[in-house]
Amino acid sequence: MTTHRRTVLKGLLGAGVSAVALKAPTVLAQTPVKIGLLTVKTGPLAQGGIQMEQGIVTFLKEKNYTLAGRKVDFISADTGGNPAGAKTKAQELIERDKVHVILGPLAAFELLAITDYVRDHQTPLISLAAAEDVTQRKANPFVIRPSATSAQCCHVMGDYAAKELKYKRAATISEDFAFGYEQMAGFQRVFEDNGGRVVKKLWPPLVTPDYTPYIAQIGNVDCVFNGFAGSNPVKFMRAYADLGLKGRIPLLAGWTAMDDALLRSLGDEAVGVISVAFYSADYGSESNKRFVAAMQKDYGVLPGGYSAGMYVAGQCVEAAVQKLGDAGPDGKTLAEALHQISVADTPRGPVKFDKYGNVVGDVFVRRCERKGGQLVNTVIKTYSNVSQFWTYDEKEFLANPVYSRDYPPAKYIE
């Protein structure tokens, strides 16, 4: 067996702490659960990747590296943020380190590069990446997703913008890649089904030094929905405010565009932005209070969706291992258990899964406010039991093409 430097350290730490704190030596008798994390620690995606690792480490620390009576071996691998790297690191985790379950990866293209591979090697994977089809038209019995599909929260935003905010005309703006297309398509579909019209769709490239030319095209609309990710929302919102649109046209945001972890990089330009997210640091569940406190103590940060997603993923592993009892967390049985579990108390509220492995859970609508000098995303409405199919018929939903730049077609573009 090959043993990892990090594994040994953490294992020892975990074993030591649990033996001292719980006085439960029987814990060590059962075979350990090996959890591998695929994350990004180098390159442009590293910020979210590091938060992912903080989230799962926070969870494991809280559990003294013991889940359902089994010691945890935790191994973290850096994919470098590209598909080939994700594949090699998945091979490292599965073939060399023989992990029982993989958490991650971060980006959709990384996930799509390894879904066939984890199925062939019968290793369950708990994804953070949002690519719709992984839990839809190409659903994979070894993949579950406790975070959200790209459009899952955006459906909610479409509904909220049309029904509660009574907006009629919207512009969308997001990066020119699949995550952006899928988000904007979900918003457009629900918004237009409820009487709204998306009259402008803007797609700046992933790396855009200056958003001014795009913002200048927005024109006469009631709201702008943005789906930026990484550090782009910071740049975009500053430009939006600098050009004087902030007071005039309300800004709506997807989860990555207004993630709680971004708040410390933002200023007044973010105040008033309404966003949808599957997680909010503001949420009052017991586990969330513990999670937020631990993240602030250990890392001095407010957690966002990346770290919360991995914390919840850890809870899912715990629930599944618990469910299996003495059966041992192996391949197919673990994958099946992961599909069947439901977790009542997570930092994002109760979590269960549909038959495609995607989460059915709460989605929060938040407004960014300044409280005591700090920016906070205050929850103003909670949509419960939101499915990836929103309120649409599942069969009909799956019979349509996957959300893209061209689907659903934008009929009202001016």
Binding site: K89, E95, R96, D116
Partner: protein, 332 residues
């Protein structure tokens, strides 16, 4: 004479080690890493034809690599067999290489580099933006690996042996090419293009064929890549891939047979194995490159050979001096 025998013994040992690698490496993960080294070595060898022997630095080879990968992946997706898909991919890549050559060979040096860079970026742009064909950044999955002559390549050892075979063929073709009149004339166009021209050689045509030869092995490595990863997305065509392969060639030693292979091994091992232990592996890789450029500017392989010869000669000179003329020396 003894040098030759030395070399054949070395080659024999290397062959035996490579052929038995799955036996002594054991874990399939490391066998997979070896497969990756070999497939990138084929790519680096292909680029070395231009960089090393023709003196034409290309930054667009990732584009050709991706064309082969996408062509095969799309054909497979459309339901064609592996043989048809792979043959078509090679033919299409050769055609693309010809277009590259016609456009880029209008100049040499920086001009050639910039034109290939632009062409590579165009391929990247197409892969990224023509989503109805390429599925954009969500990429294309390749469902199965081929089974030539009924040999299953699904497992790590099977794929390794197939890659090894292709690698040895590529290496042998390079060895033949270097010794051939064509190889000599290509080196001539690198060192003395005007004189070659005056001697009646068609410099442009020689370079054109060199681009095709390079394109052929780039296509083959592209096929190995998609069969290895069973996935292709626009990242493959990105400039970073071209730059990485160029680094392999330069760090290992341009215009040498083994240089690109050693370079490929360094980069792949750093990226995949060392990164598991050192979080800042990028930094380590950077330091290694700086050290190579500082102390062995012509690359690791030629540098090491020089170091070895220097060491050997020093030792032998000492030995000779000590054995043949101790008296004389003391007598002085």
């Amino acid at each position: 004479m003894s040098g030759n025998r030395f070399r054949s013994v070395g080659v024999a040992i290397a062959l035996v080690l490579l052929a038995t690698l799955p036996l002594w490496v054991g874990n399939s993960y490391y066998i997979n890493v070896a497969s990756q080294i070999l497939l990138f070595a084929v790519f680096a060898l292909a680029l070395n034809v231009l960089v090393g022997y023709a003196g034409l630095v290309s930054l667009g080879h990732a584009g050709l690599f991706a064309i082969a990968g996408y062509a095969a992946a799309l054909m497979l997706q459309a339901g064609y067999g592996h043989l048809a898909a792979d043959t078509a991919a090679v033919v299409i890549t050769l055609a693309a290489s010809a277009i590259f050559a016609v456009l880029a060979l209008r100049s040499t040096g920086i001009g050639f580099l910039m034109i290939t860079l632009a062409l590579g970026q165009i391929i990247w742009g197409i892969a990224y933006r023509w989503a109805s064909l390429t599925n954009g950044d969500n990429g294309i999955n390749v469902a199965t690996r081929p089974a030539p002559f009924g040999i299953n390549l699904t497992g790590a050892p099977g794929f390794y042996f197939a890659t090894l075979l292709v690698f040895l063929l590529a290496l042998a073709s390079m060895a033949v090419f270097v010794r051939s009149p064509f190889g000599a004339s290509l080196r001539g166009t690198r060192d003395q293009p005007l004189r070659m021209n005056a001697l009646g050689y068609n410099v442009w045509l020689i370079r054109f064929f060199a681009v095709l030869f390079s394109g052929f092995w780039t296509a083959v490595s592209g096929l190995l890549f998609i069969y290895y990863n069973q996935f292709i997305s626009p990242q493959v065509a990105a400039l970073t891939t071209s730059a990485e392969i160029l680094l392999m060639v330069i760090s290992g030693g341009t215009a040498t047979l083994l240089g690109p292979v050693v370079g490929a091994a360094i980069v792949v091992v750093m990226k995949n194995v060392v990164s598991a232990y050192i979080e800042r592996w990028n930094l380590v890789l950077g330091v290694i490159f700086v050290l190579i450029i500082s102390f062995m500017p012509d690359g690791l392989v030629p540098g090491s050979v020089r170091l070895w010869r220097w060491g050997w000669q020093t030792v032998r000179a000492r030995l000779d001096g000590w054995i043949s003329s101790p008296v004389e020396e003391h007598g002085r």
